[in-house]
Symmetry: D2
Subunit: 100 residues, 4 copies
Amino acid sequence: MQVIVDLCVVPLGVGVSVSRYVAECQRVIEASGLTHEMHAYGTNIEGPWDDVMAVVKACHESVHAMGAPRITTTLKMGTRTDREQSMRDKVNSVQSLRNV
Amino acid sequence: MQVIVDLCVVPLGVGVSVSRYVAECQRVIEASGLTHEMHAYGTNIEGPWDDVMAVVKACHESVHAMGAPRITTTLKMGTRTDREQSMRDKVNSVQSLRNV
Amino acid sequence: MQVIVDLCVVPLGVGVSVSRYVAECQRVIEASGLTHEMHAYGTNIEGPWDDVMAVVKACHESVHAMGAPRITTTLKMGTRTDREQSMRDKVNSVQSLRNV
Amino acid sequence: MQVIVDLCVVPLGVGVSVSRYVAECQRVIEASGLTHEMHAYGTNIEGPWDDVMAVVKACHESVHAMGAPRITTTLKMGTRTDREQSMRDKVNSVQSLRNV
């Protein structure tokens, strides 16, 4: 089962700036080799369910290891069985309709 | 690593009523034996990370098996290393302050 | 247009315990007179769109006024035009199917 | 109060393909003149709170007007009082740390 997720990891108890922790998550995601793309409020990742979820867990473990005592994450997860669809397909599908 | 999640599974392509699919997720969650509580826009579940995530995956698999071709899920996930905290603790902690 | 939301307000830069801020949001929601119910990872609120959104804004304003320099909120929002449905209806609808 | 949101509007009861409805939301957002950027699982929008929330409401109204009987939306909302920060700033802030 393939999944496309939108991952937003928020460390608590580390002050107002969280970019150091988000950058660490980016490194974890990068190291996974999965297709991903960061935006201003999260990161999209696509791949086999277990691989993607292993990355989400690794992000929590890494951010805690950096000293964050608490994390709250918002994750959107999309799966479909009717056809294959990549992150790129989703964006293209909408953009082709906008240009009509 | 313990986690508290808020799970909201939304099947697409099955018509406007989704309660049959949500009820199936409730059965999957129930069968896991994990502490959980449904509310009007999702279900809170707590337990060891891998156990909770296995339930989330089983919900997607069951809802697809029922015939839903597409699912979009929103999941909030909270972990902390500073102390243990249950779903009940979180609610109590806020309610004790409301009564001040 | 009626809406049912699930609101989870997370203050950043205020340390690891956020219950004081969540309790303040509860007071703001309570004062609105809207039907609401807190759970372990947020609060469900139902009512006319503008009234509910005014409460969400008032929560951000109050939490900033308490000194939180940054807030990240996750909000699920459900509307429907086919029929009226309350938070209670949603829960009942699923529970009736679980008992089959 | 400025806000950065991540908006993901999901119409229910319209079949498995939702791109027509997402494209309509893109037109509504575009017409608002607010800074925005679509990604594979939503659209980031920044601007004054009331303007951004008016766009979110207009998206629900437009998607219902197209015939969708039910909508479930996930919205992340970020505000801060310590300093101004654009969507671009957030991405740059993380990317500068990744290159260290």
